[in-house]
């Protein structure tokens, strides 16, 4: 039982943590003070390197060998943690505090059955074997795993990602701890699965009364899950307050900057550019006299550099560590407010019809993509949305010619027929279709300098050399705002944002007509993401290039895309203008997807739960592939017949048996909450 004696569940008091690297202590947490009341959910937000994970590990007493607490205190339900003995710490871990982190599959031991691993928690609490087994089954049922007895006998690799995370959560909550720490628990999970997991955590929390420390870089998830939020920058808490208050009325320049980076509330690129935060995150352990945010703050004055601000209370639990907190929202913008946008017009750059791809995998035929037809006009951005198994990556690869499509697929570039594989394509075709990948660490050859990477692209795609190539290279670097002095560097020496700029430059080297952007900002920090998105918008405005933009972040897609295509299990479910798709009436899957994604504004849509897991592409459901999970399923027809892709409105395609008007009527109210426990 968690000890609730009136003391806060967790109290950090001026916590300082440092890592010893090569003999020097480098501070990571520079005095963090926060309190979490019993039963409260507190979100810790920050970008990479701010120290949030370090805080979690410090609390769990699990710092690396070269990490140590250099000052301050950590109190869990009133008990001081910092100087505890190992035995006491172990006791605390088994009873009072638990942690769940990213990548649930790796958190489970692959060689031990689930049942044994879960029962271990109860054995530690003193239960005999049989009782432990029973309680394990009970807790699995609590996390909404149907047929827990069967799952107990399984090994981790036999479960899906969502189920694995449920098991991990079960293990964490089995001991009914006072504090549960969650460190990016849903990063990497599909949107619908993530929504399930988050909802589960919220329910269990209110049932058990556990306090939660939720660590994430994703502000929207925090907005959904947490009552209070603390913003961490360079190891210092710069603002803290109630979630609603903080996001609606931020009072620290960093928070203001962060919120401006994120496309909120249906913001579109023609309305307003995303703002960015200039400069780079400070290096680990750097000396930062005065306010930690000075170097990047648009409001910085002399006093900021010399004197660190106190944590000013602003009433109602809202505090800000800024000398000029009342001016925070008038932080000058980095990027100009509006952008000139060209409307896409003209004949389509790229047109595909009946695009399909079937793989052979372990003897099965796997239809990764089936009967997809889209067209993209010059200067247009088509957003591609879907979860794992939807086929969006496959589509991109087919367009680029990296794999060959099935028979019957048609592809046209600028009206002429496009050969299916890249080796058959002409030089002009090749340079017309390029890609920006998600992870610039893998997308750039680590052993080549930037100059070589871009130079080679220019040589191969434009067939230029010598002086002309050199001058084009300079122009190219300038167009992506890449400092020419860094051309001799290798990718490993550059920051994430710079690397991605090089990747973009490489894609644009040949003056392409269409660039596929495959999650280009998912690996980047929020402040960097905004700059890259602005760059992409600018390049599109200047050169009239089209984008096929793949992303799981619906806010970003809504910001950038002119039109949106929704894929599910390789089939096109809906295609239309961005606004049309985002507003009802839309496909039931789109409806569910949109309701799963957390937004900063809080819940404006009723939450629709999807039953079950995404089916396997090797064995798709009969008829409409979505019928197994569709909350708006009409009846037998959905199981028997696959609905054709119809133009239900001008420019709006949908694949559903329910007619548009019917959908409009139905989606005015949420579907009836039938909740058979998803397997």
């Amino acid at each position: 039982m968690s000890g609730r004696n009136g003391a806060p569940a967790l109290a950090l008091d001026d916590l300082r943590v440092a890592y010893t690297v090569r003999g020097i202590d480098r501070p990571v947490l520079r005095g963090v003070t926060l309190e979490i009341a019993p039963g409260e959910s507190y979100g810790l937000v920050g970008e990479s390197g701010c120290g949030k994970s370090t805080a979690a590990f410090a609390i769990m007493h699990y710092l690396a060998r070269n990490g140590k607490v250099t000052g301050g205190s950590i109190r869990l339900a009133g008990r001081e943690l910092v100087a505890m003995s190992d035995a006491e710490v172990r006791a605390l871990r088994s009873r009072e505090m638990s942690m769940v982190y990213q990548n649930p599959g790796a958190a489970l031991n692959p060689s031990i059955r689930i049942g044994t691993q879960v029962a271990e928690v109860y054995r530690l609490l003193g239960s005999p074997a049989e009782e432990a087994r029973e309680r394990s089954e009970e807790i699995l049922r609590r996390v909404q795993i149907s047929d827990p007895a069967r799952v107990l006998r399984r090994y981790p690799h036999q479960l899906s990602g969502g189920m694995q995370q449920r098991v991990v959560i079960a293990m964490a909550l089995a001991s009914d701890p006072t504090l549960l720490i969650l460190d990016e628990p849903t990063t990497g999970l599909d949107a619908t699965v993530e929504a399930e997991v988050l909802e589960l955590v919220a329910e269990l929390r209110s049932d058990l009364g556990t306090s939660v420390l939720f660590i994430s870089h994703n502000l929207a998830v925090i907005a959904r899950m947490c009552e209070r939020v603390g913003v961490l920058y360079a190891g210092r808490l710069v603002e803290e307050g109630r979630t609603r208050t903080l996001f609606e009325d931020p009072r620290h320049p960093y928070t203001v900057g962060l919120l401006r980076c994120i496309p909120r509330g249906g913001l579109r690129k023609d309305a307003k550019r995303l703002d960015t935060i200039p400069g780079l995150l400070p290096q680990l352990g750097a000396e930062l006299p005065g306010c930690v945010f000075t170097d990047r703050c648009g409001l910085a004055r002399t006093i900021c550099r010399e004197q660190e601000p106190a944590f000013h209370g602003l009433g109602d639990g809202h505090s800000s560590r800024c000398h000029f907190h009342d001016e925070a929202q008038s932080l000058p913008r980095e990027a100009p407010t509006t952008a000139g946008m060209r409307r896409p017009k003209g004949a389509p750059v790229l047109r595909v019809e009946h695009m399909g791809k079937t793989f052979r995998q372990e003897g099965h035929q796997v239809r990764a993509l089936s009967d997809v037809s889209v067209e993209i006009r010059p200067g247009e951005t088509l957003g591609l949305v879907g979860e794992s198994g939807s086929g969006k990556t496959t589509l991109a690869r087919l367009l680029l010619g990296l794999t060959a499509p099935d028979e019957g697929s048609v592809a046209e570039l600028d009206g002429r027929s496009l050969p299916p594989t890249i080796t058959q394509r002409s030089g002009d075709d090749v340079r017309a279709l390029q890609i920006v990948f998600q992870d610039p660490d893998c997308a750039l050859n680590r052993r080549h300098s930037v100059r070589r990477i871009l130079g080679r692209a220019l040589t191969k795609l434009l067939d230029v050399s010598g002086e002309e190539r050199a001058s084009r290279l300079r122009e190219l670097a300038a167009s992506v705002r890449f400092d020419g002095r860094l051309l001799g560097a290798r990718p490993v020496q550059l920051s994430g944002g710079l690397k991605q700029r090089v990747a973009i430059a490489r894609a644009f080297a040949g003056e392409p007509r269409l660039v596929v952007c495959d999650e280009p900002t998912s690996a980047l920090d929020v402040s960097v993401q905004a700059a890259i998105l602005n760059l992409l918008v600018d390049l599109q405005g200047n050169q009239g290039v089209s984008y096929l933009f793949i992303s799981h972040d619906l806010g970003v897609v809504r910001y950038l895309a002119d039109r949106i295509a929704v894929l599910y299990l390789g089939r096109l479910m809906e295609l239309g203008d961005a606004d049309t798709v985002f507003e009802a009436p839309h496909h039931p899957y789109t409806e569910a997807l949109l309701s799963s994604v957390p937004t900063l504004e809080g819940e404006q849509r009723p939450r629709i739960r999807l039953q079950g897991e995404i089916p396997s592409a090797a064995d798709p459901p009969s008829g409409c592939v979505f019928h197994t999970r569709c909350p708006r399923k009409v009846g037998e027809i959905c199981e028997r017949e696959e609905p054709p892709l119809l133009e239900v409105e001008p420019g709006h395609m949908m694949r559903c048996h329910i007619p548009l008007e019917e959908l409009r009527r139905l989606q005015a109210t949420p579907p009836s909450p039938s909740r058979p426990e998803g397997a």
Binding site: G49, A64, N66, L284, F437
Partner: protein, 304 residues
């Protein structure tokens, strides 16, 4: 209670040594690697030891006090224990053991380096091709590799040498060819993981030809494992050559090769004449150890 997480944390929070204004960043990274190497005591010890042997190999015949092949008059001095005149004593034919050991470095180093080099060049090429293309070529070649691996090196080499006649040239070719598939396997593994990375796809999207992708894009990224393989195989080569020579199928007399010296002299161990056997044995041991120290140091740096 030790927490095994030091390396993980370091990777997440890289601490650059130089200020960010440093523009010559490429050289910075290489300097960092060299600094790590230089700090490794094992690596330095290995290099030093190996250097001693290289010196012996190159300058040996010029600096030794006595003629390693022996003059007829030396027979009177046979089987003298170590003394100030003969540091390592004399052998059955009156030859100075110290001189023989020093000069013996040349043959074994020359042959082993040549053989390993041959193996690495062939193996790397093979590994690149099979790793990149996969398919039928890959299957067939890997089966052949497995066949080669089935029979231990020493036995396979023995059969080959008996069939072809033992000589330095044969030794180099045989060992080189036997090494090639084994090295190819390691290179292939590295290539397999590289080719999945997106920069290879980006190259294909420029319609680059296969040879360009293999040699200009992938090869620079697999040089590290190749270098490590080279040093590891060099150790095995010396090991194998010494054993084969000991058995009589490698380098032939009257070469002062260490394996031969042991072969010729171990039978008289029972009579208490330990020195003609011990010193060549130590030489072999130290040479291989030095190479393994270098290999170990390199592996640690490469993995970091």
């Amino acid at each position: 209670m030790s927490r095994p997480e030091e390396q993980v944390i370091l990777a997440e929070h890289p601490v650059p040594e130089a200020p960010p204004e440093e523009r010559d960043e490429a050289r910075l990274a290489r300097r960092e690697r060299l600094r790590l190497l230089a700090r490794s005591k094992t690596f330095l010890a290995g290099v030093f030891l190996f250097g001693v042997f290289v010196f012996c190999a190159i300058f040996g015949p010029a600096v030794v006090p006595y003629d390693p092949f022996g003059a007829p008059t030396d027979l009177l001095d046979k089987l003298q224990p170590p003394s100030t005149e003969h540091l390592f004593g004399t052998d059955q034919l009156g030859r100075d053991v110290f001189s023989r050991v020093v000069v013996g470095a040349r043959d074994i180093l020359a042959v082993s380096v040549a053989a390993t080099l041959l193996g690495v060049v062939l193996g790397a090429a093979l590994g690149l091709v099979t790793g990149y293309f996969r398919g039928v070529i890959d299957e067939v070649l890997m089966r052949i590799v497995d066949a080669f691996l089935a029979v231990p090196l020493v036995i396979l080499a023995t059969v080959a040498l008996v069939a072809l006649g033992p000589s330095k040239g044969t030794l180099i070719v045989v060992i080189g060819i036997v090494f090639a598939p084994i090295i190819a396997r390691t290179v292939r593994a590295a290539v397999l993981s590289e080719r999945e990375l997106e920069y290879v796809e980006a190259a294909r999207l420029r319609n680059e030809r296969a040879p360009y992708i293999m040699f200009a894009e992938i090869l620079p990224n697999v040089t590290a494992p190749i270098v490590v393989e080279f040093t590891v195989r060099l150790g095995y080569a010396i090991f194998a050559i010494a054993t084969l020579t000991f058995l009589g199928f490698g380098v032939q007399p009257p070469s002062p090769d260490w394996g031969l010296q042991i072969k010729e002299n171990y039978v008289i161990l029972n009579g208490g004449y330990w020195w003609p056997t011990l010193f060549p044995a130590l030489a072999i041991a130290l040479l291989v150890v030095s190479i393994n120290l270098i290999a170990d140091g390199l592996t640690r740096v490469v993995e970091a």
